[in-house]
Symmetry: C2
Subunit: 145 residues, 2 copies
Amino acid sequence: MLGDPWSVIVLRDIMFGDRRHFRDLLAGSREGIASNVLASRLRSLVAAGLLTREDARRGQRARYDLTEAGIRTLPVLVALGAWGRANAPSTPLLAVRQRVMEEGGDAFVGDLMDELREAHLGIARPRPDAPRAFDALRTAHEAAV
Amino acid sequence: MLGDPWSVIVLRDIMFGDRRHFRDLLAGSREGIASNVLASRLRSLVAAGLLTREDARRGQRARYDLTEAGIRTLPVLVALGAWGRANAPSTPLLAVRQRVMEEGGDAFVGDLMDELREAHLGIARPRPDAPRAFDALRTAHEAAV
């Protein structure tokens, strides 16, 4: 269902970079994804039911939203990231985020998924006043920069 | 590092089917992997450091062993399987094994990894007298058949 490494990278950038538009995903790509590769992977992810593409209205760019099935790939990305942190060279900045997620465990990953449901599906968080898990990731990242 | 779905399937069959030889992986493949695809994925997994290929002695077939990095992909496979069980149609028999692993959590998956270290790397289990997690999977599978 994920198909190839680029699909995982695109999902990661949508989730953690909050990039919802083609141009942002292209310009912000740490790995320098090519335009045609990005277009084909976005099509595959929509076809696989992990993303929806909201048609652009006049003068607006199309926006990609994660589906519930797409949001539920987050634990797979966390497991892949844990493997990478232990077994493959990584950039220290990505490792910081990964370590925070591993230390937070299932509850923290569950909070991240609730925040993705709010941002992509418009579903309110169960505890709207609780601190945001994505803020904790951002704080850890900024402290490491 | 996993690259494509066939690589994941080959790792799964080595881990859960205890298939260590090319011919067993080919003949036992539930998905009917083609011979040339299997050969290329085994080469990729060796090149990625997830498997080693023990050269065949005269009259013997080459055997594939998981490396430590290969064994550590098990949590990724469990996360992928959890996604599949919740979001994609699955065969009931695979779902049984997956449910046992999810219910067992990190400790159970850790026991499975220790048993893989014993079978593939010759490293004794920390608690040699403890019941085997793979036996629990097998029992659950047989009860479902």
